[in-house]
């Protein structure tokens, strides 16, 4: 569907993103302290930890949206799929659902942008009129658009920050299955508080406590 669909995770030794002893200092306290992490192609990694531990900060450093105060970052190549925690604000409410999903490929000037987006939306947002403006949909539907958009991306990595938090419990298992299938050989960094997300989608878990990563080795 996106040129890499497959049940296998296509693992290679290629490192798609990494952090080495990264620290990020906030105005009042450290947001991340001594965090290390290596993501290889095909990795399915869960990033867990209590609220405020620095999970989203770590993701933003990996994405290059936040510069580290110390440490080395190997940023992912462009085209990363990203579901931010503030998924609703990340959508383009004046665009249609379809155009939102197609966005990463429109940015990449890909001719298959709308075909891939339609196929993904049909699986992730069944029954939703794809011509509707994204701003008119419910919170759960908006989060599903953000998820579909991330899966339509062209890079080697998808970072999803609590991507199922607003989605109805009855739909989560189905969506996890779709994510698993659509990821193909891409790496996944999944930030979650839900044990079912970890069990269904991830092979490795990294715990972040007070900004320190535990169990981050590959």
């Amino acid at each position: 569907m996106n040129g890499r669909t497959g049940q296998g995770n296509g693992r290679t030794e290629k490192i798609v993103a990494a952090l080495d002893r990264v620290r990020v200092l906030g105005p009042h306290h450290p947001m991340l302290g001594d965090a290390s992490l290596t993501l290889r192609a095909g990795d399915r990694v869960a990033l867990v930890g209590p609220n405020g531990a620095g999970k989203s900060t770590l993701a933003r450093v990996l994405l290059g949206l936040l510069p580290p105060t110390e440490g080395a970052v190997q940023r992912a190549a462009t085209g990363v799929g990203y579901v931010p925690q503030s998924y609703a604000e990340s959508l383009f409410p004046w665009f249609s659902v379809l155009r939102n999903v197609a966005l990463p490929r429109l940015v990449g000037r890909r001719e298959d942008a709308y075909d891939v987006a339609r196929a993904l939306a049909d699986r992730i947002l069944p029954g939703v009129d794809l011509r509707r403006r994204a701003g008119r949909l419910s919170g759960g539907e908006k989060q599903a658009i953000a998820l579909a958009r991330a899966l339509a991306s062209l890079g080697d990595l998808v970072i999803a920050d609590e991507p199922f938090s607003a989605i109805a419990a009855s739909s989560r298992a189905r969506l996890r299955r779709v994510v698993h299938e659509e990821l193909g050989g891409r790496a996944l960094l999944l930030i979650t508080h839900d044990a079912s997300d970890v069990a269904d989608l991830c092979e490795r878990t990294i715990r972040l406590t007070d900004g320190h990563t535990v169990g981050a080795s590959a």
Binding site: L63, G64, L65, Y82, P84, F92, W94, V107, G135
Partner: protein
Amino acid sequence: MTGHRDAPSRGASLLALAAAIGAWWAVAQLHVAGRPLVAAPVATLGALSRVAPTLGRDLAATATRTGVGLAVGVALGLVIGVLASILARRAPVIEGLLDFARSVPPVVILPVCLLAFGYNELARVATVASGCVWTISLAVITAASSPRSARQEILEVAGTTPLRALVWTQPWESLGVLVVGLRTSASSAVIVAVVTEMIAGAERGLGARVIAAQIVGDTEGLTLAVLATGALGYSINVALRGLERRVRRFET
């Protein structure tokens, strides 16, 4: 259920309207220096048929002056705002200078415009525009200085350039701030247009009509001109509030 809730609300509105007309009538009974402050409602309505054609022409003249001045002010304000937003990153004092310019009451610019352009339409429109241009410029600066949005981040992460991400997002995300600036500018434009007509004079216009009615002691005509000015300002405000509501809905 809705019908039950609407009935008392409509009744209360009619009551409030009647009270307002009653208050108007009461004020009309006040006499200062042997003359009424304003004409009574019935007398004003009676005068309407007499002055309607010329009042309509004056209303149209002021509305046109307001609209043209506002359009020129908005166009200039957008250009100045974009340039100032770029320059203000290196020289933050620019925002302070624009704020200073906005703080100058537009009507004091009128003599400057009269000196520059003479007693003509250009001077009046330029004065109206001067009341809008700084408000719009500052609205553009406010919009441009907003932190990088989640949408821009998504586009950058997807691989687009920061400039392209800005072009895809900024115009849409700025709409809310710009419409608020437009509404503020429009309110100011009506005031400045009428005051300019009163001070600098004009062949046609509500401001000129107010002064003319005051000079000849035409209380009914004066009251109608005041009401027409209020109606013009209110109509523009209602229209722009509607536009603002649409933009807010569009944004989310």
